[in-house]
């Protein structure tokens, strides 16, 4: 399933009703930063975890509080567990970050369109993550590294607000020591204890090694970061049709019914969250969107 990238799941594929959550028990909780945790969930009652595509998301429900869309951040080749990385950014997500091992959450999904990783086969791959943009890209990286021989050079650029805001740091350290990919980490500002780079992710692009016309790029992070990065890659010669980004909007129903996440002609929950830059570029310049 994980290799069949970029096909949208239909509403209700994982559950009988698209709005009925399935119970999951929090098995482990990893504190990533002061406001972000990663939760490892196991289905209650011995059910299996529905297969998902890297880049897809679930609606995660804290009973009595509400539900929010959260990207899946775990390994698509681990069918026994579901991993979500959540940042406290509002009432519901704050409640989710405070969920403890043993407690139960509701999950429905997976939803949306995943990263089209197969398009990157035999190409150079550039992955650019900003802040909490890394978790939605992590399943892609797991999948890519599981079949590393299918891809040419792999460049990862990861930016965060400060060294304290870097998430999945254990993975980052592992990737750093691999000989078959290059990783650059940069932060917006730092103290003297930080020996790495400081500056925007776009400032790291000139140091990345890739052949622009034969490169596929995957971007996830704050919208302005993705816009600047896509522009920089395009200027270097990466085809706009080969740049993919994951959008975030106010997703409520997750199945293309309610319209809360409408972005121009698209519903982000149904038609995204992964979009091709060439298809959505013009929407970045529409201020009302």
């Amino acid at each position: 399933m994980a290799s069949e990238t970029h096909s949208a799941t239909s509403a209700g594929s994982a559950t009988e009703s698209p709005f009925t959550p399935e119970p999951y028990v929090v098995e482990r909780r990893v504190v990533e930063t002061a406001d972000t945790v990663t939760m490892v969930l196991k289905p209650a009652g011995g059910r299996g975890v529905p297969a998902f595509l890297p880049g897809q998301f679930n609606m995660v429900y804290r009973f009595g509080v509400g539900e929010v869309p959260i990207s899946i951040s775990g390994d698509p080749n681990r069918p026994d567990e579901l991993v979500h990385t959540v940042r406290s950014a509002g009432k519901i997500s704050d409640a989710l970050t405070k969920t403890l091992p043993g407690e139960t959450l509701g999950v429905r999904g997976p939803y949306g369109v995943g990263w089209p990783l197969q398009r990157a086969e035999h190409q150079d791959v550039v992955i650019v993550a900003g802040g909490l943009g890394l978790p939605p890209l992590r399943p892609l990286l797991y999948e890519l590294l599981a079949h590393r021989d299918r891809y040419e050079r792999v460049e990862i650029i990861y930016g965060a607000r400060s060294p304290k805001d870097l998430v999945h740091y254990e993975d980052v350290q592992k990737w750093r020591t691999r000989g078959d990919l290059r990783l650059q980490v940069t932060v917006d500002a730092a103290g003297r204890e930080w020996y790495g780079d400081v500056g925007l992710v776009t400032a790291r692009i000139p140091d990345a090694r890739f052949d622009p016309p034969r490169t596929v790029a995957f971007l996830c992070g704050p919208e302005i970061m993705m816009r600047l990065t896509a522009q920089a890659l395009s200027t270097l010669g990466v085809p706009e049709a080969s740049i993919w980004l994951s959008m975030e909007r106010n997703m409520k129903c997750a199945v293309g019914l309610c319209g809360h996440c409408q972005w121009g002609p698209a519903f982000v929950c149904r038609d995204g969250p992964v979009f091709r830059y060439a298809d959505v570029k013009r929407m970045f310049s529409v201020r009302e969107l």
Binding site: D165, Y195, G199, T202, A203, P206, P222, M225
Partner: protein
Amino acid sequence: MSGAPVHAPPVLRVADHPFFHGLDERFVQLAGSGATERSFEAGDMLFLEGDIASEFWLVFQGKVALEIAQPDRPHVTIQTVGSGDVLGWSWLVPPHRWRFDARAVKATRTLALDAKTLKDAFEARPEDGYRFLLRLLPVIGDRLENARVQILDIHGV
């Protein structure tokens, strides 16, 4: 017992720095005459905010942090520059004083070009000076954009 031969690091040349690639050779020679190689260990300061800015720096190796020093608060690094980058444009505009501190994050090798020599080269060869500035302006623009996005705190919202 004989040890491995010790090789001196290659001499740094202005013409080898990417910033000067493609510029007229005579201009490069003129602009770089009297350039001084400066090496730093991690933690060494290249210059301090408020010091007279009289040199244009070419970084060949290592990493330099541009910092803001605040009274009674930790220094904040707002950008790092590394191999192939240039450093400093305060020498070009009044009041010709550095606006930030610059600190070597790790062992760093640079060439420091004398600002007066550079300006004399601009006067002597204005067309090449114009090309030089056309290369420097995007560097300034990128750093301005970096600062603007930092103000937005895009990862913090």
